[in-house]
Symmetry: C2
């Protein structure tokens, strides 16, 4: 995308007007209707979820890849018709600045690399969609926000659940007080982790264990349902396999209060599978999802019965939404600030574990 | 029961031998096969649960009442054939010492009265079954234990769930490591409390709010399943109706670790109904009950499918068990120490709420 085209597209009021008037699609001034993505990091999430999702998207289009594994280039090129000129590695990543074919970099790297590649992506003129957790510290999140702001690029975090119909319905039940005011939420997400050599178990790559990886979904659920930021947190950690979990947390439980008095209690673990849910308790009823955070098969129920809504491809919807934000020039609902707020809460959880104290969650300055 | 008969019955080895030999039931030395109960406090629990349960018991027999409401005397006398000589009030309660017809006093009074009537009951030569929570403080629990010890009377706490087949099955799943070692437990019990003038909302009567009344079931579940005492506790309280809950807690969540590394997270509330369950997570599977703590209709499931066991009258079984303990002269599994340990954990929860610190749970000296 040239700077001129960018300027044009960012004047979105005009753009919308043209679109509504049905400007001919072959016109030189044709409003861009798709946004071109490059996937940065071709691990299992990109391979099994995101690339397939990009075959279903309406506005987001897979055109590029960034990989540190040359053997993957040909495979992806053949499978997805990636042009040679849109293939990068981590060294020549910054050359993206010269490639107008790519609008967005979707960072699907180990957590510790999110900050660097978000900042380098923004500096190369690309909008950035970054997987969760946004970064390994709130300071890193802030640096990423600042970089995207400085380069006038949009930044979003891969909180796919915020686009999922059952989650959205539960948020509506909470916010509309369909069962009265919310009083408590229980939320947990964990799984029994396999390969002891994976990056998720290395502190310098993952920044933490179960909490950073999947506990964040339980935290997100509480924040998403209430629309509130946690005030104070207490937390405890247990470690039953100190060798496997030498560097990162195994099982954490925590409590969390909100300004309106919602009392949340949450868990996350790498030591067992089977918890993947939230339950929200209001004064006159309850509702929840179980499983809540899976890629598919979300199921819900409330005091009034089952919650049955369409199953969607959460990644496709998340990417189409970010494409729309870019095309229409408005901020993403899963903004960098949203990612930063989660890291502030996560830091409070770790701090409470270390200090044995109830910790007040820091606010965005 | 005369002192002589007591002495005889307490020589239970001999008793069992005689029973096995089929001693004639009309013999003067006939072993006592039933134990006579007096209910102390005729509120809704006694009226709706315990007295009806005493119509189903095999060894426990309702023969006496203690009430502060004279109008209730005739009603109970007519309904249950209580003899006039077995009716007491709180003033003449100590005269029970002269009544050999009554073996056990079952204390079903507001929490704050448990200590006094347990101690007075033991001093009057009666065994004591005391409703939960055992008392309003661990010091009171200890005083009750000491009094029963001093008077050589048995003491048990009304932890009916410990006799419930689904609970027992779940304990077996936990202890046998049917799904591997336990890693985490979620447990919660709450209900939306009605009448704002009831004793449960008065600190001097109840000693606390939801935690003392129903949170104790969630705590019990964690202790019962693991067979371990909590090591450290963190807790938070929220209060959304400071008027109704001026004196006692409304909603509390807490975390609790055990020596083997089980990480528990729990909740209790008087602000909403609908949470009444536990879920236990082990390395290779899970199991739980929902509803878990109701008087009837307990339902369970595990990774292997539904847990379907007979529904029993928990109060009847609890009372028959205490009767058996007395007849066979062995301690109750729901001993005073069991009640004391819960109070030690509850005090740690309240202390953590007050101090904002992780609190180590005190051990029985």
């Amino acid at each position: 995308m040239s700077l001129d085209r960018r300027t044009f597209i960012e004047s979105s009021a005009a753009l919308s007007a043209i679109a509504t008037l049905g400007a001919p699609h072959t016109s030189a001034a044709e409003p861009k209707s798709t946004v071109n993505f490059a996937l940065v990091g071709l691990g299992s999430l990109s391979t099994n979820q995101i690339a397939p999702a990009l075959q279903k998207t309406e506005r987001a289009k897979l055109v590029g890849i960034v990989t540190g594994t040359p053997a993957k280039e040909k495979i992806w090129q053949d499978k997805y018709g990636i042009e040679q000129k849109n293939i990068y590695n981590y060294d020549n990543f910054d050359k993206l600045v010269d490639n107008d074919d790519i609008d967005v970099v979707y960072i699907v790297l180990p957590n510790s690399m999110h900050k660097e590649f978000t900042i380098r992506g923004a500096a190369a003129g690309k909008h950035v969609l970054c997987e969760k957790p946004m970064a390994n510290s709130s300071a890193d999140c802030q640096a990423m926000i600042d970089a995207c702001h400085q380069h006038k690029r949009k930044l979003a975090v891969g909180y796919r659940c915020q686009f999922e119909p059952h989650h959205l319905h539960c948020r509506e039940l909470a916010r509309s007080q369909a069962f009265g005011a919310l009083k408590a939420i229980e939320a947990g997400f964990g799984f029994k982790i396999g390969d002891p050599n994976q990056w998720r178990l290395k502190a310098n790559m993952a920044g933490g264990g179960a909490l950073m990886d999947v506990g964040i979904y339980a935290l997100q659920a509480c924040r998403f349902l209430t629309g509130e930021e946690p005030v104070a947190i207490t937390a405890q950690e247990t470690k039953t396999d100190p060798q496997k979990f030498a560097q990162v947390d195994e099982t954490i439980t925590w409590t969390m209060t909100t300004p309106s008095g919602v009392n949340c209690y949450c868990s996350t673990s790498y030591a067992f599978s089977g918890i993947n849910r939230f339950n929200a308790y209001a004064e006159n009823g309850q509702f929840g999802l179980n499983p809540a955070y899976s890629y598919e098969g979300i199921q819900g129920s409330s005091s009034k019965g089952p919650i049955k809504l369409p199953q969607i491809d959460q990644f496709a919807t998340e990417m189409d939404d970010f494409a729309k934000c870019i095309l229409e020039d408005h901020p993403s609902r899963v903004s960098g600030e949203e990612g930063l707020r989660d890291l502030l809460a996560i830091e409070a959880i770790y701090q409470s574990i270390r200090s044995g104290q109830r910790v007040n969650v820091k606010r965005i300055a």
